[in-house]
């Protein structure tokens, strides 16, 4: 197991390296000059622009710039934001807790609703219950996250005044206020993810229920709840884990939209702002960070497989 994990982690090194090269060259081949963006006032003389360009190292060849960036990045320095002039690493770190809280909450909510509902739909296949759950899943999958967010704000904030429409309070300043503000974004983000997990749990349980060993277990007289928990769910869990991990990308992408609607100061919001401001060092860091998160999620899935299925041994 340890060797497998080490191998998997080493494999991600070239992926990240190539990815950083790709993103770096893409951003530097982009039209538009960041220096002109930074010196937005017309008063700046060409000399000032030249000095700034030199300070930022933008007058050197791209590969030298990349080497320097990589060297700094490995030392934890991701450069400076063109817009706020502060450290990119500091900006990303400051916004990280928001996104982590949002995505983990949404993931938890999604799995905890999708798994029981999917199992129920599969066990009551071709009944009204199944039809309702499946139709709900199809609707959830088609629902644009930003539209759902708008509808939720309209209902719970504008009409009913139950919940605040947007904003953010860090948990250490008040857990209650933080959670109240997180309910709507979390629901928004969780819906499409829930739909995906629901679908795969239903399919997976349907598959397992047909297996011989389930019939054997039934024949031995195991009670239905125990059968489902111990024999069906455990085997059905593997595809579910895969999808939960694979679809982390959907969750992270959804976080971008959700954070924008609900004015949450997270990484996704940072990505959108950096695009609108052409703040490339920030965009670069966020993109790489998102890739890292996705890779980590898939690694975690591999570890969970071994837990769910004792037949799987890595080594």
């Amino acid at each position: 197991m340890a060797r497998f994990l080490l191998h998997r982690m080493l494999v991600t090194v070239p992926v990240l390296l190539f990815l950083s090269i790709g993103i770096f060259s893409m951003l530097h081949l982009a039209p538009g000059d960041p220096v002109t963006t930074m010196l937005s006032d017309d008063l700046a003389s060409p000399q000032v622009a030249q000095t700034l360009r030199h300070q930022l190292g933008l007058d050197r060849p791209v590969y030298v710039q990349y080497g320097l960036w990589l060297d700094h990045a490995l030392h934890g320095d991701l450069g400076y934001s063109y817009r706020s002039k502060s450290r990119v690493s500091a900006e990303v770190l400051a916004r990280l807790p928001v996104t982590i809280e949002l995505t983990l909450l949404a993931m938890g909510v999604a799995v905890l609703t999708a798994l029981p509902l999917g199992t129920l739909a599969a066990l009551r296949r071709n009944t009204g219950v199944d039809a309702v759950i499946s139709a709900g899943g199809a609707l959830g999958l088609a629902m644009p996250a930003f539209w759902l967010g708008v509808l939720l704000i309209l209902l719970f904030a504008v009409r009913l005044h139950w919940l605040p429409p947007s904003g953010y309070v860090p948990p250490w300043q008040g857990m209650g206020a933080n959670l109240r503000l997180m309910i709507l974004p979390c629901a928004t983000l969780a819906v499409s993810y829930t739909a995906v997990v629901l679908r795969i749990s239903r399919m997976s349980v349907l598959d397992v229920v047909k297996a011989d060993y389930i019939r054997t277990a039934r024949a031995k007289g195991i009670g239905e709840p125990w059968l489902v928990l111990r024999h069906v769910l455990r085997s059905a869990l593997i595809p579910v884990i895969t999808v939960v991990a694979l679809e982390t990308g959907r969750l992270l992408g959804g976080a971008v939209v959700t954070e924008t609607i609900f004015a949450l100061p997270g990484i996704g919001r940072l990505a959108v702002d950096s695009v609108l401001d052409r703040d490339f060092p920030v965009l670069q860091a966020v993109t790489l960070f998102m890739a890292l998160a996705l890779i980590a999620a898939n690694l975690l899935a591999d570890v969970l497989y071994a837990w769910a299925d004792p037949r799987i041994r890595y080594g």
Binding site: L19, L141, A142, W147, V158, V256, A271, L276, V286
Partner: protein
């Protein structure tokens, strides 16, 4: 038992010979009953396409016409879906914006398929270093969340409709390549391919005449689902201000500009979102339905 079976067969053949049309109709009806969701999906898609194609030409009201005297009116017989903050008729804008949304969806999907399908075929058929290089490239594209990658691409190229379409095509392309590669890997060992090889067919001929037809079903299913993905992604990008730019509007950008007036004119944000959802739902149902028909093994 035997006699019954014989009678059954005789009945069926006689039936087939006498009433081919009725038989086809009955089969279609049986199919429709079995694939109720797929039929609903097809009906939704058809409705949306007809509305978006025919709507703007039937509508005498220009979608961009500003009416200062009719700001944020609720739905009424004069304007069925109400007006927005500039007094523009939402139904007119919905129909016109639908052309953009569907147009981007189809264009991006076509571009993704045109690049992804051949890439997957070449990769799966020749394998070797081409396969290695292409698949590592796909891994790279897969390692960034699609939405984030699309945003980054639009960020680099500049936010506008063409770049948004391009970005969607780039992030959708690896799906086609992977899917097709997997299928080709399985098919290249099939007997009919070996036979074609044995009679001296050139690789390109095998790919085009023997493999492509066998991939079409898969590509159609993936294509349908990609159109829905592309419409959703375009709407998201436009909602974030990274897609279509004013005065042109798509469903996503209508929502973007209707959203600040949520408490005064909720219909301006609710209507375009509903249009997106209905269209995406229709495409998803249709795509899943076609998959069920083509590959009963995968039936859910």
């Amino acid at each position: 038992m035997d006699r019954l079976a014989a009678a059954g067969i005789r009945y069926r053949t006689a039936h087939r010979r006498r009433r081919p049309f009725a038989r086809a109709l009955a089969a279609a009806r049986r199919g429709a009953a079995r694939h109720r969701f797929a039929c609903a999906g097809a009906a939704i898609c058809l409705g949306v396409v007809i509305a978006v194609l025919a709507g703007p030409s039937l509508d005498r009201n220009p979608p961009d016409a500003v009416h200062v005297s009719a700001l944020m009116l609720p739905p009424s017989p004069a304007s069925w879906l109400g007006t927005d903050d500039l007094g523009r008729d939402i139904l007119s804008r919905l129909l016109a914006g639908g052309r953009i949304s569907l147009g981007v969806g189809l264009t991006a999907t076509a571009a993704a398929a045109v690049v992804g399908v051949p890439a997957g075929m070449v990769s799966g058929f020749w394998r070797g270093w081409v396969d290695g290089a292409l698949m590592r490239l796909m891994d790279l594209l897969f390692s960034v969340p699609t939405m984030v990658l699309a945003i980054a691409i639009v960020g680099v190229l500049g936010p506008n409709l063409t770049n948004a379409t391009l970005a969607i095509a780039v992030v959708a392309m690896p799906q086609f390549a992977r899917l097709v590669r997997g299928q080709v890997l399985a098919l290249r060992e099939a007997e009919f391919v070996q036979a074609a090889r044995a009679v001296g067919a050139r690789p390109v001929q095998i790919l085009r005449r023997h493999l492509l037809p066998n991939l079409l079903g898969l590509v159609v299913v993936q294509g349908t689902l990609t159109v829905s993905f592309a419409i959703l992604t375009e709407a998201t990008l436009s909602f974030l201000g990274l897609g279509v730019q004013p005065p042109t509007s798509s469903w996503g950008s209508m929502l973007r500009y209707g959203y600040p007036f949520l408490d005064q004119a909720p219909w301006a944000a609710v209507v375009p979102g509903a249009a997106i959802m209905i269209t995406v739902l229709g495409l998803n149902l249709l795509g899943d339905g076609i998959r069920d028909v083509l590959d009963p093994h995968l039936r859910t």
